[in-house]
């Protein structure tokens, strides 16, 4: 007993020394972590600022380069414009599907325009989806007048996806061209679209080229430029990559056997066009872009209308991000990874911009440490780069896009707003859309929302 007590007493100084060493070591680790944290925080902030500024610039150049490659590779060899239609090896019959919800003001014009299609064999299926106005009466009248027109009436509002599904199941033909109830499809469009289905057995869908009709207001003019200078470039660049983010919801063509394999349109996704694009490409179908397949559309010309539309698009994109995350974890789906990553980065950019904006605002109210101050753009070489990029982007898109619309150059005077409008609306709708997508109850069905159809 006495020996054990003596052993214990002799260990005390040792234990004390060891504890002291541990204490010094812990203190050093904590200080080191604090310094690393401080360095990371300040450099992260600096990195985020640089990222917030340079990401859209780098993406702009990537889209431009991709679009130029697309133009050189395909577009410049394809005749003198949409009117110069190619000769097809065959003209299989097609079904043109037009889902309608309260389109009484516009659907007559849409259907009558479709009857001008320069394609020998097609049917038009107009789907009335629980409209509360005179849409059904107009459609029945058109069906009585024109043999090519059929009507499917959904007795209750089921949403665009269900309208498309129903029409697809009841359509006579394999190839489906789907346009919105207020869109005017150019007479040559079906020919241009069909050449892809005939030349590529694994082409599951073709997306056309929406052109904006509503140009009265500043917002309308800006969107014309946006569709030309941004969306047009992005679609071309994505085709060069080999996978696209989405078909255009307003003009998309599909192979019925491809739709059947992927289960047709999902009725619980707010943007059924993004969802079907992902389903098809994950099933290894190709989606092509046809810039000659023009479709004249009405876009919102009020801030409220534009906000609602872009919020829906942002939410739809976020829903796709959440839904398909797990399905991408397979090597054979690797070609979709870059599309997914790009969209994910754009979401991250939106939140970064929000944080940057908040810090910039805070800089006016409280005194921030110098490393956390958001620098101004004017005057700086960053500003020159921004100005230069705007110039290039407008020039490239004007050069590529002018063959589809004479006189589109006039629009470019108004485009100077675009960076601000795009960045502000894109950031706000992405930030809100992601939250809505996360909070959305699973299985909630998407129903029609009456759109803003511009100033007329």
């Amino acid at each position: 007993m006495t020996d054990k007590r003596m052993d214990w007493e002799s260990l005390v100084p040792w234990a004390s020394a060891i504890m002291q060493e541990i204490g010094i070591f812990a203190q050093a680790v904590i200080q080191g972590l604090y310094r690393i944290g401080e360095w990371l925080w300040l450099n992260l902030f600096h990195f985020l600022l640089e990222f917030a500024f340079f990401y859209p610039l780098f993406m702009a150049y990537l889209w431009m380069i991709g679009a130029v490659i697309y133009y050189v590779r395909w577009e410049r060899k394809e005749g003198d414009g949409p009117q110069d239609m190619p000769e097809l090896p065959a003209y299989p019959p097609v079904s043109i599907i037009v889902p309608c919800h309260n389109e009484g003001d516009v659907v007559r014009e849409t259907i009558e325009f479709l009857l001008l299609q320069k394609y020998p064999n097609y049917e038009i299926i107009a789907v009335n989806d629980g409209s509360t106005d005179n849409t059904l009466d107009i459609l029945r009248e058109l069906a009585a007048k024109h043999d090519a027109v059929r009507v499917i009436n959904l007795e209750s509002n089921q949403g665009k996806a269900m309208a498309l599904n129903t029409a697809a199941l009841l359509a006579k033909h394999e190839f489906l061209i789907c346009i919105d109830g207020d869109a005017l499809l150019a007479p040559e469009a079906v020919v241009w679209i069909m050449r892809h289905f005939l030349s590529g057995p694994r082409v599951g869908a073709v997306t056309g080229n929406p052109r904006i009709r509503t140009r009265t207001t500043l917002l309308g003019k800006i969107q014309v430029g946006e569709f030309s200078a941004i969306i047009g470039l992005i679609k071309r660049a994505q085709r060069i990559y080999g996978r696209i983010f989405t078909v255009s919801g307003v003009i998309g063509a599909f192979r019925k056997s491809a739709l059947h394999r992927v289960g047709y349109w999902g009725t619980d996704m707010i943007t059924e066009d993004i969802d079907i694009s992902w389903r098809l490409q994950l099933d290894h179908w190709d989606i092509r872009y046809e810039p000659h397949a023009l479709c004249w559309i009405l876009m919102p010309e009020t801030l409220r209308g534009l906000w609602r539309q872009r919020l829906r698009w942002a939410q739809g994109g976020a829903e796709v991000l959440l839904r398909y995350f797990r399905r991408l974890g397979m090597w054979r789906r690797r070609r979709m990874w870059m599309v997914y990553v790009e969209f994910l980065v754009s979401v991250f950019w939106a939140y970064t911009m929000l944080v940057t904006f908040l810090f910039w605002l805070a800089g006016y109210v409280i005194e921030l440490p110098p490393q956390l101050v958001v620098p101004t753009m004017l005057p700086s070489w960053g500003g020159v780069l921004l100005g230069l990029t705007c110039l290039f982007q407008f020039a490239v898109s004007l050069f590529i896009d002018s063959r589809y619309e004479k006189g589109i150059g006039k629009i470019y005077y108004w485009l100077i707003w675009y960076p601000l409008i795009y960045w502000v609306i894109s950031v706000m709708t992405t930030v809100a859309g992601v939250v809505k997508a996360i909070l959305k109850k699973k299985g909630t069905r998407a129903v029609w929302v009456s759109p803003d159809r511009g100033v007329r």
Binding site: I65, K145, P201, Y413, W417
Partner: protein, 157 residues
């Protein structure tokens, strides 16, 4: 038929039109302002001394050039990668469609999918006007013929 392009400024008030023009003009001025550093450089090179513009330090210019070259390199890297990827796919797949064409969707397959007789499906596909009833969860309950409006019917008071 209406015009394809809808541009009716008369629908807007004078205030709305004026505001659009003024604000757009302001943004063009801002855009020109972005070019001040480059304009300063050119003005300095040309020997023009303007009170507002300051002389550009050589050292600062070197840093700017370094950043600019880095920017160009990144753009070149991104664009070059995309171009190489496109070239790779072109060389690998051009004119060589190894993937099998899948058969068109047959009416049998579709009828099985819908759970109906093929003759009924064919009948639906030939009908000019149909009405579809759904339950609350979006399942089709019934498909019936929708009575078409006739020209005579329209003329009746």
């Amino acid at each position: 038929m209406r015009e394809l392009i809808i541009n009716v400024p008369s629908v807007q008030t004078l205030w709305q039109r004026s505001t659009s023009v003024i604000f757009t003009f302001v943004f063009w001025v801002v855009w020109f302002f972005l070019w001040i550093p480059l304009a300063t450089l050119i003005a300095w090179y040309l020997g023009i001394d303007l009170v507002y513009f300051q002389m550009f330090e050589l050292d600062g210019f070197r840093i700017v050039m370094k950043d600019f070259i880095r920017f160009i390199l990144v753009v070149g890297l991104l664009g070059g990668t995309l171009g190489l990827w496109a070239a790779y796919n072109y060389l690998r797949f051009k004119g060589r469609e190894k993937r099998k064409a899948l058969p068109q969707l047959s009416e049998h397959t579709l009828a099985d999918y819908l759970g109906i007789d093929i003759e009924i499906l064919k009948g639906y596909q030939q009908e000019r006007a149909l009405s579809v009833k759904f339950d609350d969860s979006g399942r089709i309950l019934a498909i019936t013929r929708l009575q078409e409006a006739t020209d005579e019917g329209e003329r009746k008071p």
